[in-house]
Symmetry: C2
Subunit: 197 residues, 2 copies
């Protein structure tokens, strides 16, 4: 097939999430057939991103400015911190325009089995932000997994003495979701958290 | 979300075949979270490929050498040219190790409706290779589409006076394929081309 440069490009593309060997070959071919309009712009964009993008020292978001756009935005409510596992979760919440406060990216969840403790995550920086004062509410927006629940519980206990309100995102039936395809755990949570009209 | 560098990277990734906006975001995030091991190597591989990869002047294959590895290989049978529509087809045949001759990449198919004529493809260079002599067989390995069949027919007529054997790949039931999911055209072709044991 192609030379080592093509093989190496296909190999790196095949390691991207969602691209297997077959789609990596197709992608490489498309890029190679349009070097000026596809290949070189992508190479440049990757290098620009590598040069400029850093984790925000305050919240852990990835951005080409530090503090990040969210932390630097004067219109955001600094008294409300939404705690998420990863930057992808932050991006999803921003796309939905549902949170007007700031964020804190943990970088994962506590996992006693995997040996992940608070000091392996951005937990100390969260506790420091809360201890510095001016925070009214910490929203825990972690995944509804075992480790997510463990982390939510641990953070709730740990933040309780600080006096800030600690809330967590609701669990239940996803909007647009049918009940008959949901797992037992979701159905139980949705029933437990039922509300009157 | 991120700054303009991140937005631009996501935008370019989303234009790759097989990656939509959602998977482009996921891919960008993965790259940004591992700049040294993922992002920069991919940027480098893209630039290396852009610098080195060219279309082979003989056959049209993409490679970092010209003539390409196939044309330069002394063990390939130069008397047999396999004509394909695109480089992806050439790669597929090479992966299957089923052709010991050389190739000729047309860069598409003849399409009177779309205004694609012989001079818009690498047809003149194919005719020149055959006219230069030393060719015993031209295998037409084009797709079983209307335009593929048109091109096969046109090339067969055009090459006939040269005296070389012109063959075409067989059409029929794909290996591993069940008959009841095949379209009528494939079933008809498979029956027409039936052979005795």
């Amino acid at each position: 097939m192609g030379g080592p440069e093509i093989e190496r490009l296909i190999g790196l593309l095949a390691k991207l999430p969602g691209l297997g060997p077959r789609s990596a070959r197709r992608t490489a071919l498309r890029l190679l057939q349009e070097p000026q309009t596809r290949l070189l712009p992508l190479a440049q964009a990757l290098q620009d991103a590598a040069r400029t993008v850093r984790a925000c020292a305050t919240c852990g978001n990835l951005d080409s400015t530090d503090p990040c756009q969210v932390c630097a935005d004067p219109h955001r409510d600094r008294a409300i911190i939404c705690v998420v596992e990863g930057v992808g979760d932050l991006w999803a919440l921003e796309r939905a325009h549902v949170h007007r406060g700031t964020y804190h990216v943990l970088g994962g969840t506590l996992s006693p089995l995997a040996g992940v403790g608070p000091d392996d995550l951005n937990v100390p920086s969260l506790l420091a932000r809360v201890a510095a004062g001016g925070i009214g509410e910490v929203i825990l927006a972690l995944g509804a997994t075992v480790d997510g629940a463990t982390t939510t519980h641990w953070l709730t206990e740990r933040l309780r003495p600080s006096g800030v309100a600690v809330t967590r995102v609701a669990q239940g039936v996803p909007i647009g979701g049918a009940l008959d395809v949901l797992d037992d755990g979701t159905l139980a949570a949705a029933l437990r958290a039922r509300r009157a009209f």
